[in-house]
């Protein structure tokens, strides 16, 4: 990758290639770092090691089929990816999921947020040197994954929502179990806070590290907790509510200084809010179906159904087939975004009326957060680079797509 190599500024600096196999880069991220002594002068992130062509591939799948690909974007929080995609297609088609489906989706997406934040907390603390939190957070995350297994039969790549609802209902006893677990979860979050929030080692490693002002964060396009840590009120769940978010009450935690510590506090408080949202949803859970009447079939054809009427020649059947292929879906373009655990996850879909997306583009928060690494790392030590990668909560599956 010659074009990305850094040219050294002077003889006293040296260039270090960190990654793509470094355990603290959270995936296959490569950083070209230039140091003067131990201070960072210049950093260039190098992405693309996990590129699988999801966007291109989805052009050859039907709309329900392309949903299974979105699982593999941010594989830590596949539920929210699915929901974001389904929501975009629903808005394109102008259908509305039933009320029960909306509540179920809110529950699972908040549980995903919990599990994603738990993984973030675990790895972030491990990078900085707190091993215990890693073990504790994985203990709880395992329970959330087990709930996903109960709900839909898969733990990681769930493919649970469907365009216009969700695939299967959640049983009553599972809901009760989730409710009980959320009480426990609130206690556990307090435990993590006791371990970290006042810990002097944690404070000295995170306070003042990777500081970014609100204006800079906005101009870099940061979203999610990375932006809210700088005190900007931007949460799509509040500003452009989807699913059952307008019907539940929750706060959007904001930081002040925009450093690693504030982002940590934001996420920790968000975990509490998530647990409370799940509890509210379970309390208000309406009865009814979970799939909208107008939702497209899972085996929607790529193109129109072939209609050959009696007495017709094969040729006229072919004509009808090729003419009709463009009215399965409404034509047009749509962008819609949801608040994924890592930030604003947007899907941009161009539809030409056939059963497949003509073009799908994913606005992945991790990709945009990577572009903030050079800014955040300026003038910091090498050890802080690790903390900054951790605080941005990057998943390369989503950044490289």
């Amino acid at each position: 990758m010659g074009q990305l190599e850094i040219e050294k500024i002077s003889d006293t600096t040296f260039v270090l290639q960190m990654g793509p196999h470094h355990p603290a880069t959270h995936g296959v991220l490569k950083l070209w770092c230039e140091f003067e002594g131990e201070r960072v002068i210049n950093i260039k992130p190098d992405v693309g090691y996990l590129h699988r062509g999801v966007e291109k591939l989805s052009e050859s799948k039907t709309y329900p089929g392309a949903m299974t690909l979105t699982d593999r974007l941010d594989y830590i929080s596949s539920m929210t990816n699915n929901i974001g995609y389904c929501l975009t297609v629903e808005r394109l088609m102008g259908i509305e999921p039933p009320r029960r489906a909306k509540f179920i989706r809110t529950i699972v997406s908040e549980m995903t947020r919990l599990s994603s934040h738990l993984l973030w907390l675990a790895t972030h603390a491990l990078d900085i040197g707190a091993m215990t939190v890693f073990l504790y957070a994985f203990r709880e995350r395992e329970q959330i994954l087990q709930f996903f297994e109960k709900i839909c039969g898969a733990r990681l790549t769930v493919s649970y929502p469907r365009i216009g609802g969700v695939r299967v209902d959640i049983e009553k006893n599972v809901l009760d179990e989730i409710d009980k677990f959320m009480d426990e979860m609130l206690r556990r979050v307090d435990e993590y806070e006791t371990l970290l929030t006042e810990n002097r080692i944690w404070l000295s490693r995170t306070k003042g590290v990777g500081q970014i002002t609100a204006e800079e964060a906005v101009s870099l396009g940061l979203t999610g907790p990375a932006l809210r840590g700088s005190g900007v009120y931007y949460d799509i769940r509040k500003l452009m509510p989807y699913d059952a978010y307008p019907e539940v009450e929750f706060e959007v935690p904001l930081g002040e200084n925009g450093d690693t510590y504030d982002r940590y506090l934001c996420r920790i408080r968000e975990m509490r809010q998530s647990a409370l949202i799940v509890k509210q949803c379970i309390e208000k859970m309406p009865e009814g179906e979970v799939l909208s009447e107008k939702s497209p079939d899972i085996d929607i054809p790529h193109q129109g159904k072939r209609k050959i009427e009696a007495g017709d020649s094969l040729w006229s059947g072919f004509i009808a087939f090729s003419q009709e292929k463009h009215d399965l879906m409404p034509k047009g373009e749509i962008y819609s975004a949801i608040e994924a655990p890592k930030g604003e996850l947007g899907f941009y879909i161009v539809s030409d009326g056939s059963g497949r997306p003509y073009r799908m583009r994913v606005r992945a928060p991790s990709f945009i957060h990577i572009s903030a690494i050079p800014k955040l790392c300026e003038g910091h030590l090498l050890a802080d680079v690790i903390a900054i990668i951790g605080t941005l909560d990057i998943v390369m599956g989503e950044a490289d797509r």
Partner: protein, 187 residues
């Protein structure tokens, strides 16, 4: 002042250490995997199988090819011939390449006669690729293997009846599917 005292007395660290100390007395959450196994939940999406119909002893598949059409990774291959007397489709080839499967469960959801199922069986790693390329016979023997170690007496997958979805939207076979009962081994 208060903060300074806290700092000198290491209160912050001691509080944390108390939590780790208390955890010593809780029961461990880990299990020793190959010896101990975690019970799987109902509807877990594991290895594919063809349901062996307890009445006919054969597979139920009617060769409608819906599963092959819906499969996002296109790993199901079907061939059929038409029985000239009855006009019914006869399955001549049915193969699933499990190494390409992404376990989305679309195939079992779409199957109108509940012939295909993703069983709650996950330990099928093998040394050769051929072992995970299932043909019709292998799929049926997968089912036998699964049902033998299944604990309950009846098996009903939730993707067969899709709770929460209006019954009139589903094909007839999926509206009120019967559970497959486990046959006694000795017979």
């Amino acid at each position: 002042m208060n903060n300074l005292l806290k700092k000198i007395l290491f209160i912050d660290l001691i509080k944390g250490l108390l939590i780790t100390f208390k955890t010593i007395f809780t029961t461990p959450v880990t299990i020793r995997y190959p010896k101990q196994k975690r019970p799987l939940e109902d509807g877990f999406r594991g290895r594919h199988a063809f349901v062996r119909d307890p009445e006919t002893g054969k597979e139920r598949c009617v060769a409608c090819t819906k599963c092959a059409q819906v499969c996002p990774s296109q790993c199901i291959y079907i061939d059929y011939s038409i029985n000239s007397e009855t006009g019914a489709r006869v399955l001549t080839k049915y193969e699933i390449d499990a190494l390409r499967c992404i376990f989305c469960g679309y195939c079992e959801e779409v199957c109108p006669v509940n012939a295909l199922v993703l069983t709650e069986f996950f330990e099928y790693a093998s040394y050769t690729r051929e072992d995970n390329y299932f043909n019709k016979e292998k799929l049926l023997s997968n089912w036998d293997e699964f049902i033998r170690q299944y604990e309950k007496t009846e098996y009903l997958n939730k993707f067969w009846h899709l709770p929460g979805i209006g019954r009139d939207r589903l094909p007839i076979g999926k509206r009120e599917p019967k559970a497959v009962s486990k046959k006694e081994e000795s017979q």
